[in-house]
């Protein structure tokens, strides 16, 4: 079945609900990792990285906007309201993406973990690229068209984090040790990104996206490949230690992120920002 327009999609209640669930996951994942990325501005290891990372975060925020606009078209409300005014339990991003960059805040005593940033972004960009490759053939055409555009930009993000990852994994013993700690940490939460949540089966049934298992297998293969290039191995399956964000389970870190993100918007949602 192909859904050329939102009207066609809406005629199939189950597909319509599954498409919305998928869009919330895609939008919230990009929104959160872009926000955490933007907090690094001025704090990245060197000035060229500041330019690169902020450009990546801006791009990623733009991708989130695309998905929020698709939700707006499906009648979920204004894109700005969807992104800023929901309650934390209504967010569908994976928990690993909402986690703080480290202790302190960007204004006060930031003690951010660069190894965590590199690993989280690399693992996420593999997952995102694999998802986009599948979404290019989505039965919901407006989503397929956007995926085709996003993937051309995503290519540069992935290349960037692969470079950092390989260099730091082959750098000093301290760098290696920090990177390994970050890999272990992100791995044990990463199934939160890979799961499509309770609506996953319906998403696959209506060919909105490939099956969760297929996407997960491809991700594990990609990550194991780069790990083997730097002589590292993880035997266990990726975990979801802190809970399932696709079911509205979140940590205090999400509340903290949202309170800062939407602080200005909440003062006057009617104004055109």
């Amino acid at each position: 079945m192909i859904f050329e327009t939102k009207e066609e999609l809406k005629q199939h209640t189950k597909a319509y609900e599954a498409a919305k669930a998928l869009l919330y996951q895609l939008a919230d994942d990009d929104f959160m990792i872009a926000y955490r990325g933007s907090e690094w501005l001025g704090l990245a290891p060197h000035i060229e990285e500041d330019v690169a990372f902020s450009s990546i975060s801006q791009d990623t925020m733009g991708h989130a906007v695309m998905y929020y606009q698709l939700l707006e078209e499906l009648g979920e409300g204004k894109a700005d309201d969807i992104s800023h005014l929901r309650n934390p339990v209504e967010y569908r991003n994976a928990i690993i993406l909402e986690e703080k960059n480290g202790t302190g805040t960007y204004l006060e005593k930031p003690d951010y973990d660069w190894a965590f940033a590199v690993v989280r972004n690399l693992f996420y960009d593999y997952a995102k690229t694999i998802r986009l490759q599948s979404l290019k053939d989505s039965s919901y055409k407006p989503l397929a068209h956007i995926a085709r555009r996003v993937i051309g930009e995503e290519y540069y993000h992935l290349m960037h984090w692969e470079l950092w990852f390989k260099q730091l994994m082959q750098s000093t013993p301290e760098a290696r040790q920090r990177m390994e700690a970050a890999i272990e940490r992100v791995w044990d939460e990463f199934d939160g990104v890979l799961t499509l949540g309770p609506e996953g089966e319906a998403m696959n049934e209506y060919s909105l996206i490939s099956s969760e298992q297929n996407l997960r297998d491809r991700w594990v293969e990609k990550v194991q490949h780069i790990l083997s290039e730097v002589d590292y191995k993880i035997e266990r399956k990726p975990g979801m230690k802190s809970g399932n964000g696709r079911m509205g389970e979140h940590t205090e870190d999400l509340n903290q992120a949202l309170s800062i993100l939407s602080e200005v918007y909440r003062t006057d949602p009617v104004t055109s920002w």
Partner: protein
Amino acid sequence: MRGGSKVVIERAQLVEEIRAVLQEVKDPEIPSISIVELGMLDTVEVEGTKARIQAKPTFVGCPALDIIKKNIVNAVIGLEGIDEVEVKYVYDPPWTTDSISEGGKEKLKVYGIAPPPSEHTPGEPWHIDCPYCGSTYTTMENIFGPTACRSILYCRSCKNPFEAMKPVANI
């Protein structure tokens, strides 16, 4: 019937006029090149006194998109016979760097930006010549630059820093 064909001709003329004024709408971040030369313009339609314009965004997260939209409206609303302008961004067909016209590529160089290569295959080396002296003796300083679509390079021959537009292919 005569009146009908006259309307059709007038409408076609109006569409041509719109395309002509859009030549004057520049990219706010690269003022040497127009949105038409960048390949952003998709379709122009006129119905009565309303103009409907479809445009293809370059980078989807580009913060200049809203400004460009406003500039399109302002340019077209001044035309005689038009009182309403609707601008919509579309993603199908997709914009790629191959959408930039040959003339547009030359104008990028005027602004110190090396144009993207034609028919680039992602993953393959991307040769960038200096937009000032034409030398191929250049190095990539940062694949990410001041805007989403640009990278920062350095010419070892004429010793100028310069920028290049990233190739975006339909992968």
